[in-house]
């Protein structure tokens, strides 16, 4: 069974730190992690810069045949993704175990 890598997002993803978050996450994927769970449990604020960071990692994983799962997403973040037409960007898991199973399932 494929190994899933969990990456915890900070409390905010905005213009200040989204570039760093995106760079870190894409470096993890480039190093060979193709089943990635973004843990949004602590994430309470995401601007459009954070949305872009999420899209970057989703695209990278899609192109490498990998899989992205989002876990612990708060309603306001879901609303933001919906507003951007990105409600299908990744499966949204409600629990740690569900996230792990989603990520380990075939891409």
């Amino acid at each position: 069974m494929a190994t899933a890598i969990f990456i915890c997002a900070p409390a905010r993803l905005d213009g200040l730190n989204s570039g760093d978050f995106s760079a870190f996450t894409t470096s993890v994927v480039s190093a060979g992690a193709h089943r990635v769970v973004l843990d949004f449990t602590d994430l309470t604020y995401m601007s459009s810069a954070g949305v872009r960071a999420l899209m970057v990692v989703q695209k990278q994983l899609h192109e490498s045949g990998g899989k992205l799962v989002v876990y612990g997403c708060r309603p306001q973040i879901r609303d933001l993704l919906n507003l951007n037409g990105l409600n299908q960007i990744a499966p949204f898991a409600e629990s740690f175990e569900a996230a792990k199973l989603h990520a380990q399932a075939a891409a």
Binding site: D14, G15, L16, Y45, S47, A49, R52, L80, L83, N84
Partner: protein
């Protein structure tokens, strides 16, 4: 009508403290959290845009946020002395879902607010953001 004024310098690190202050005012006034979040996100998008693009020099510039809270709506006037930019002339539709590098902040701000209007007053950009609000005690 209650009025509040906030000021910040053109430093992105100043946005979060300002949003926290505004949140305290709005939550204290009974505004529902969903509206508070939308207001803070719209304001944050505009402030990020101003700080990133409005000023040609690296000097210190002040940005002023004037808020008027009535029983039914919140109006924010954001003043900066950067180069002229009218966001109401910017496309408001969300870009294609796969278009990573398309700008999203201005369109998002317009979606989150009920009215967005812009004026150039001398050397100042004045953006007015208005949102109808509901308060918890009226639920």
């Amino acid at each position: 009508m209650e009025s509040y004024t906030f000021e910040l310098s053109n430093d992105g690190r100043k946005i979060e403290p300002l949003q926290q202050q505004l949140q305290e005012v709005l939550v204290g006034g009974g505004v529902r959290l969903k509206s508070v979040y939308a207001i803070n996100l719209a304001l944050g998008e505009w402030l990020e845009n101003v700080i990133q693009y409005a000023f040609a020099d690296a000097g210190d510039h002040q940005i002023r946020v004037e808020c008027s809270l009535s029983a039914s709506d919140l109006t924010m006037r954001v003043r900066d002395n950067g180069k002229a930019f009218d966001p109401t002339q910017f496309p408001g539709e969300a870009p294609e879902a796969g278009d990573i590098f398309a700008p999203r902040g201005i369109g998002l701000m317009r979606k989150l607010m009920d009215t967005v209007s812009y004026q150039r007053e001398g050397t100042w950009n004045v953006l007015e953001l208005r949102k109808e609000i509901s308060r918890r005690e009226w639920d």
